[in-house]
Symmetry: C2
Subunit: 435 residues, 2 copies
């Protein structure tokens, strides 16, 4: 019989006390192996949400979740292994641009991504909008991809962090998602399992992010970095602006189109300058972390050169082919609707979360995890903050299918914008680098 | 499909907002009928424990739990129906004294009691220590007892407050017992289901009570009274002292012995003056509530007269007989152990909860609900606060069986007492009456 009584551990956290490493290990392990019931786990989760956890407790929680499954070991592969994690935003497709840049430059990128839920999209869904692209590789196949391309883009496997999977599903239905220590442990346990040496974090704040203020985002960034470093990784965290969608495209196939345009540096690439800039920044930090350059600034220049030389696009094409995807044949929406500006002036603010929900109305994402995505659905934002508009000028193009509720999506989109007579100040995209 | 999403209701409470009557009804009803899982209920319970509930929410919760089962209707029985509820103490056997007093005086007492758990005893266990006494009557049999004796002493039936039963079992294993609104709703839903017109509450504070301070107990008393009144009952609440065990006897058969002595007013009755006094006070309030006297003071005098006339004992004997019990044949403990005072002086404090646990060591109660009680086990407290003791003088007699761990019980008992050179001030037994 265990020396731990679950209700006593719950009460300890409920009363605001710190749990010991052994108590956390016992509770999480017993829950994962099924000997501790859901109802005790959900009571503890609510107590954690309301009473918090110290960084030390969060570290123990992360480590317990990490070791609930396989921890990948790529030490046989030559080169520094590095990944990026973003806390999620609307139109955020930087992973698909920076990963081929960094792999082409000589580091190994074992990228395990998730699906989208709520107003933010998931890298895996975007990839699967490429016809034939497979993300369900086994760990053996993943290793082969990494050996051949220094890059692999796959989804969570059942071997990795089973505790996180089980706990996340419970948090989703018990109102216990929005807890900083639980978020930290969930993110970091999965990243630490990837067998990486370094990690770049993109912590977003603003109307489209989970963290609405810079202060909250900065606090989360420091915590994630601390947990990563306690786990033995080198970590750099970025605080970046999510006051408006990143780039122009929102929606799975549309975002791939934007990525391809940036990677090819084609005639439309100038439309997506903000997305390119952030991708190169993050890639630069990864290259610097991996020791290919001795400063962050030189890392950025190296990243830029791999983008401009076409070597990054070449790597992207190669990994798409290797994972079964056909980039030549991206699906297009059969129906469109243009949103016209109701007034003249400048776009002054964009409620990015509202815009995310407008894209959900069209079918670009999931409200609940069983929802099916329409890959071609989405929004092309023609005007962003600071852009001048005439009354009746196109603001955005909605992409959808014949049955799409364009009216509802238009109304949600327009409700998310404000207009003013003078050009607003624009905020920098990257607010801070915490190295 | 229901318009309510359980996780949204949990989040609302988690964020400190008030739930509506409809939300509470939906959540509790769905949990009771099994369509809402334990893990969502336990998350809500923890959020309620940590974020609280307004009196209005507590009223809605009480009413929903009340109407989850049968609400008894004794309107066909002549007379005011009244009951008493105590928040639980050590040696508290007033129910068994006041119930026959009040019934003999002409009111109807439909008393539905619970079993003991932890350091406080349960009325039902005490009754069952009387050989042959049955507490498992059906509601039809209960009605017959009330018609014949104006009194019935039974246990919870499955028809009454099934929601409370299910929720209480969950609270017990999820660290969510110690919540004032949940405690209020649990107590009051069961009492409101009894078909009573009035209720007297005995809210205890001190070392043996759930509420350690008078302020906390007073706040609980006001809440319980409010919920009872919103439920249409007349309620009087007492704040009473539980700084030491009530009376002398702790343990089931021993407590019946004390009750019989008080009811018979025999040669030992003077040993139990505090218990008699509180019982008569509470009975007096019940008689006043029931309109038999126009003041609380006159109620007390009426109660005292029914005790002294022997009519209360007669009623107690009759109800025991009617429920199968044989008072002539109370069991006695086969083994005893006397605790001697380690020092001279005065008994200055008694940790009543500690003394309750000493009685648990002997088998007088349950630590978990599946434990089996030894009816003859218990403690006779010979010295109480303010009593002078000589070194080596008997402090208490432990009652048990041959295998009882008298040493452990003695050590726990002695650890619960302090001695001093000067006689301490004693606090009044009844601190306040909230009418």
């Amino acid at each position: 019989m265990s020396k731990f009584i679950p209700a006593e551990i719950i009460k300890k956290k409920r009363d605001g006390k710190s749990l010991t490493e052994d108590e956390i290990k016992f509770f999480i392990s017993a829950y994962t192996d099924g000997s501790l019931p859901d109802y005790q786990m959900s009571a503890l989760l609510m107590a954690i949400l309301l009473k918090g956890m110290s960084l030390e407790e969060t570290h123990f929680l992360t480590q317990t979740m990490l070791h609930s499954g396989d921890v990948l070991d790529f030490s046989d592969l030559i080169g520094f292994k590095v990944d990026k994690h973003s806390t999620g935003g609307v139109g955020d497709k930087t992973s698909l641009i920076l990963a081929p840049i960094v792999a082409a430059a000589g580091l190994v990128v074992p990228m395990i991504s998730g699906r989208g839920l709520g107003h933010t999209g998931g890298t895996l869904d975007k990839l699967e909008s490429i016809p034939g692209f497979v993300t369900g590789q086994t760990l053996t196949e993943f290793r082969k991809l990494l050996r051949a391309h220094s890059l692999g883009l796959i989804g969570q496997t059942k071997e990795i962090c089973p505790a996180d999977k089980k706990i996340y599903a419970l948090r989703d239905v018990t109102g216990t998602v929005e807890s900083i220590p639980l978020i930290c442990a969930s993110i970091m346990s999965k990243k630490l399992a990837e067998g990486i040496n370094g990690l770049v974090l993109d912590v977003k704040f603003g109307s489209g992010a989970f963290m609405k203020t810079q202060a909250d985002a900065e606090s989360l960034a420091h915590k994630l970095k601390d947990i990563g470093e306690r786990g033995g990784k080198t970590v750099v965290a970025f605080l970046t602006n999510m006051e408006q969608p990143l780039g122009r495209m929102i929606g799975n196939a549309l975002e791939i189109e934007e990525c391809v345009s940036i990677l090819k540096q084609d005639e439309n690439a100038h439309l997506y300058k903000d997305c390119e800039e952030l991708s190169v920044f993050l890639a630069g930090a990864m290259l610097w972390l991996g020791g290919l350059e001795s400063s962050f600034e030189d890392g950025i220049m190296l990243a830029q050169s791999f983008l401009e030389s076409g070597l990054a696009y070449e790597r992207f094409e190669a990994i798409c082919r290797a994972q079964g995807g056909n980039l030549q044949n991206l699906p297009k929406a059969p129906a469109h609707h243009t949103i016209l500006s109701p007034s003249p002036g400048f776009v002054t603010t964009m409620d990015t979360e509202g815009i995310g929900y407008a894209s959900l109305i069209l079918g670009a994402g999931r409200i609940k995890s069983s929802d099916i995505i329409n890959f071609v659905a989405g929004i092309e934002c023609l005007k962003k903050i600071g852009d001048p508009v005439k009354k009746g000028e196109p603001l955005a193009i909605l992409h959808g299918s014949l049955g799409s509720d364009f009216n509802a999506a238009e109304s949600r989109y327009l409700k998310s914008l404000t207009f003013g007579a003078t050009k607003p100040k624009t905020s920098p995209l990257v607010l801070k680098v915490i190295a």
